[in-house]
Amino acid sequence: MFPIYDVIVVGAGHAGCEAAAAAANMGSKVLLATMNMQTIAQMSCNPAMGGVAKGQIVREIDALGGYSGIVTDHTMVQFRMLNKSKGPAMWSPRAQSDRMLFAGKWREMLEAHDNIDFWQEMITGLIVKDGRCQGVHTGMGIEIKSKSVVLTNGTFLNGLIHIGEKQFGGGRAGERASIGITEQLETLGFEAGRMKTGTPARLDGRSLDYSKMEIQHGDDEPSKFSYTDTPTPNKQLPCHVTYTSPEVHEELKTGFDRSPMFNGRIRGLGPRYCPSIEDKIDRFADRDRHQLFVEPEGWNTCEIYVNGFSSSLPEDVQYRALRKIVGFENMKMFRPGYAIEYDFFQPTQLQISLETKLVKNLFFAGQINGTTGYEEAACQGMMAGINAHLKINEKDPFVLKRSDAYIGVLIDDLVNKGTKEPYRMFTSRAEYRILLRQDNADLRLSPLAQELGMQHMEDRITRVDQKNASIKEIKKYLEKYSVAPESINAYLQEQGSAPLKQKQKLNSILSRPHMSLHALMEVLQEVKQGLSNYDAETLQIAEVELKYSGYIQKEQEMVDKMNRLETVKLKNDMDYHKILSLSAESREKLTQIRPATIGQASRISGVSPSDISVLLVHVGR
């Protein structure tokens, strides 16, 4: 009934969809197996993509030929560039999507690909022979063979949902949990762990009084994620902001004795940066209110997502507390919030390619690796898909360095450090964030994807070449253009900047604090004319590269320094237990992780700088 597939992807969430798309676009024959075809690319939690650090990841996925950016651009109901008051490295795109359109667009794009087949059934086990993964078993007892398998099970592995004192098996509200895979992996020698996440209640928008809330609009000039020819939205939906109050907190506290969080029924590790509302009240008791975002789930639905009110308290407590919130007095609930516990596998059991160390040709991506977030999952899926294809074609894995992309930071952190709580990306995790900007992901990554053989990159590469040429032209223009004192001194004085005494190059004026190219173009109409052919993003890159060249150069030097350590290879069969001058902890960690280079070793938690020096001495011997 089935051919032997190149890659079977288990699970069709953000990781699974990107894995299937990437493998297919690399040229593999792919089977995408999901328990329910109706929930492909479901946004299980917040109907939003991007945000600080996450937006950068979506753009990186797009630059490498992934679909998340394209799907988001086609389905967004609101776009905001976050952190615009901060420096250019911090600008982070974020979009609210129409939940149903988002899933529909994903399915449409996957179905359009000849290399992708679909199968709707629970996958209950793996076919493993001679330490190599060769396919999957289904719930009906079918064997489907393949050269490799990518597991992207999300929260479904032994998923357990908690609402107050009630608990029931399930991978998502109203969906069954997946059973069998964890148990098999454990017998194969994998170490499983348990994590926890949560989601807030969904409300009936018709029952809310928006006039009592603050309104939050999208950007006046919305941007987008994809570097391809996708549309920007011509209309947007607003979000609203309201707050909890001491009355709300008191109401919530009446349910604390029935909270699975507080009475110890939930044992999984939850994310600290995504606490439930009861956790916030408990840990930050001095705060008398917490901000809530009232977010629409789509164009044609009244369903509302209450961002900031994640809870696993009993549904009646959630209901009474929600009704005490300003604007929610007559609120009707579609469904309560809940917490979910699920199995994950410490990602230190993976190679940097996301292939498992124990079973060849088996790859993990997404929440199964202890991460959280659509973007984190999607980029792992893409990398796993690419690397599964490369593996079965006996090619070296595709590895992004920490200096290449946030994706590189994420995977490097996972496989070297593991994680104690659901791992989310922050810009502070990246050493080189001035280089890893959302505006240059295509320049950084698209050429790499093309070199790799990713299909449909032509369009992106043409733009990259064009962009690079434009940046050069703009920089040249700014370095050459002379500004006369009389044409700019009024503006400079207004900004508290010293007036010019003689003609000066525009470039050096731009280098002053508080000066931006955008503002200077408004003052100097001739410059606006001269640069009218270039789009805002290209202008911004040129501006950043000129204005912050000192910082960029410094960061580049740090990259070069780090990369020197990356070139010092460590043998895979090195017996770390024999190197007594290493600390006991680092002997243990190095044996477990088996880093490929000194650079990688230096990032393993528990391996100290002095351990690295000892290794260097050993390698140099």
């Binding site: 600080v52 901060k86 900031g308 502070s428 007594l580 000892v614 140099g620």
Partner: protein, 491 residues
Amino acid sequence: MLQKTIDDYEHIRFLFYMDKTLALKSNTKLMIQTDTIVAQSTPTGEGAIGVIRVSGPKTIEFVDEIFYGKNLKEVDGNTVHYGKIKNENGQIVDECLVTVFRAPRSYTKEDCIEISCHGSSYIIQEIIRVIIAKGARPAKRGEFTMRAFLNGQLDLSQAEAVADLIASDNAASHQMAMNQMRGGFSDQIKELRQELIDFAALIELELDFGEEDVEFADRGKLETLVTDINAVIQKLIKSFQYGNAIKKGIPVAIVGSPNVGKSTLLNALLNEEKAIVSNIAGTTRDVIEDQITIEGIPFRFIDTAGIRDTDDTVESIGIERAKEQITKAQIVIFISEIIEDHNEIINEFKSLNIRDHQKSVILLNKSDAFHTCHSYDVEEAVSTLTGRTPTLAISAKQKTRIEELKSTLIKLTGSADFRDQTIVNNSRHYDALFKSKVALDKVLHGLQSGITGDFIAMDIRQALHHLGEITGEIHTDDLLDSIFGRFCIGK
């Protein structure tokens, strides 16, 4: 840029300069710790007893073979045993006490034995010889400490402190090394580290959680914070100069015209103290160094050739050298005969061109041959007209006011400022602190000129990185822990 002072410990230090290690790795030989090593631990020379230390996997086996007493292979660790040591001909070398330490409960964390024997250098050398004959090898200088460090007994700053302790030959530097070895330095740096982490967290908070409903620190508050941290670092940096001087001895140049009493003064100081550590001939015939310890602080007195205008070529070379010595000194003692015309004294003093960072004392010698009441007038006039330079009318010959001179010298070292304070005394720490400070200065500048947080964060990371060279690496997780611990984050 900075000279390391104890060459033996180069090999420990270099380990920590990864880049350098990379460059050096081709000519590096790892100390193979499967060797058993032996060395005399007490100083060379005759003493009542001598101690020989043996460390390594075969320590107990080797010593047991030459030791006649209990079977050392069967004794517990941390026990002392009496017995005789015989050489390969069965002759008794000495009666000894043997202390057995079993791994990891020893200084080196390896099996280790200390043999206390009589202090004759023949006996010591003979015992070492027979142990080497059994298969041990002589330890290199510092190798025991090297092993203690590599086996995780000591952290780097402690290992360096041991090196300094061994090399210390005066009370103040001994005290300093002891403090550091016990972790006093690390504690202060740990505090500093935490303050920096909390500061960096405030900046990161703004960047990663700008959308959150938390209160962000304003720039003014951040400026105050970084200024405070910088003041602490600055104090530590300053202590280095003092600490370094303590290790090496504070250089003091004695200058003045010929026959003004320089040598007599030096002798007066030396005789009083009877604590001459060395009497090193200088690099030239006309510069003599003497080291004297006053209140535990070592001073290196450099007696220079007399300075005066001369046409004599040979003498003028000596004078040039004397002037060179003046520039190297931390304290300059200018000595002149006391005369009525104080302007002449002042002019001569000013012609020395003593620099701003140097301290000076003016001595008006031969006060015994001068009217006492007048000498105070001259003293007062000279001091006033030289910007309150400490001035003393003395008699080197009669040894009057030598105690006062000594307390003046102690005051000029600034040691009072550093009492009970951590003193940075190694160049690696100094270097790291200095670089941290440079980075923090940039942070401050960035805050003042309104640069956005992402760039400021870069400089903070530099500071954290450099400080991490002393305290161990600082990770993003440290920052995130600080953020999540203090702020309510998350929707």
